[in-house]
Point group: C2
Chain length 216, copies 2
């Protein structure tokens, strides 16, 4: 397997030399051991070894449905969500949206952030970042969790890893009570994140952290 200049530089930065053992992955769950055979500034030649099973993925796909946020806040959310195991980030536009659309360049940048974060946390999967849909057009399989002040249900009791899990987080002003009620009517599960007000960029990390703390 021959890698190009960007990956070759990455191996040099890690101070790897010919003979070093590495793990390579294809971003779709495939993973294998490999040995560095040649390495210079322009390319790296690897000898592929046995295929391995990544232990970093959740038992069923985990999706973050994240409301659009202003400025660079989504990049931080995508980065942390990737570390915390999401397979997909679906952008959504709720009623009190902080932004109603996202440029093609910015969407591409979020995809690159997911790719970098995936590599850094040694995951075999690069999360997809999907262009925004209106909140009432959001579709999900399995469980949809949404944090709601006043809910007494714990994440521990709501997540069932025999089915896919989606986590929805709101804009700076929060989802409206009507939006949450409509989602619950469609089968969503409202869960608690404690009695304090969280910023829109903190809530997804906290909620995905609570899921990661279940151990998978």
């Amino acid at each position: 397997m021959v890698l190009g200049p960007a990956e070759a530089r990455h191996l040099s930065v890690l101070r790897l030399a010919p003979g070093a053992a590495v793990v390579v992955f294809d971003g779709r769950g495939g993973e294998a051991r490999a040995t560095v055979a040649e390495l210079d500034d322009t390319r790296a030649v690897l000898h592929l070894g046995e295929a391995t099973q990544g232990a970093q993925e959740t038992p069923q796909p985990l999706t973050l449905a994240a409301s659009l946020l202003k400025g660079d806040k989504l990049a931080e959310v995508v980065r942390a969500a990737t570390e915390l195991g999401v397979a997909r980030i679906q952008l959504v536009v709720p009623r009190r949206a902080d932004a109603r659309e996202i440029g093609a360049q910015k969407l591409l940048r979020l995809a690159r952030v997911a790719q970098e974060a995936s590599k850094q946390s040694r995951r075999a999967v690069i999360p997809e970042v999907l262009a925004p849909v209106a909140l009432d057009a959001l579709a999900w399989e399995g469980t949809l969790l949404v944090a709601q002040p006043g809910s007494a249900v714990r994440v521990t009791d709501a997540v069932d890893w025999t089915r896919p899990v989606t986590v929805l987080t709101g804009p700076e002003g929060g989802l409206t009570a009507e939006e949450v009620a409509a989602l619950v009517a469609r089968g969503a599960q409202a869960v608690t994140l404690g009695p304090r007000i969280l910023r829109a960029e903190t809530a997804p990390v906290a909620l995905l952290g609570a899921i990661a703390a279940l151990g998978q």
Copy 2:
């Protein structure tokens, strides 16, 4: 009660006018209803009403023991930890520390970040930010939680709100196995945060999120 120019401007930014109902707090847990009586650019006069009980505080004090990090990463950690309910942030220096000390100006800046974040999340308590201690000099009351890859214990089973809770998070390179073993020997509880590698600034938010998701 008379407030100075900074607080008066804050009330103006919120588009409050004389007659508006507000909640004031003293940063040490005291909280009361109040009414805006006069408001201009230089001061605000409030009429104090009844004392209220803030519902935002954990049943026992929650402390984040955070390893020193490079650059501006600690500010983001302090901000999110404040939203997630900590009463105190104790900076610590582990063996593989990303930084061994913090300047007085920087420590003061972290205290200001805690103050702002406390106000924004409408907490009645401003978390203290305490100057760093060596990890082996870290003292705690109640439960000390430390995330450890491979632990099978869940936060849900480790937190007991009849006692104070402290959460310890490591530097970019992680705590060493010896450091975790020494803490466990002193009574710390190792818990899981899932099988993936988290950045040093993501781990505290994820772990405090898991605690907040217990509902208090």
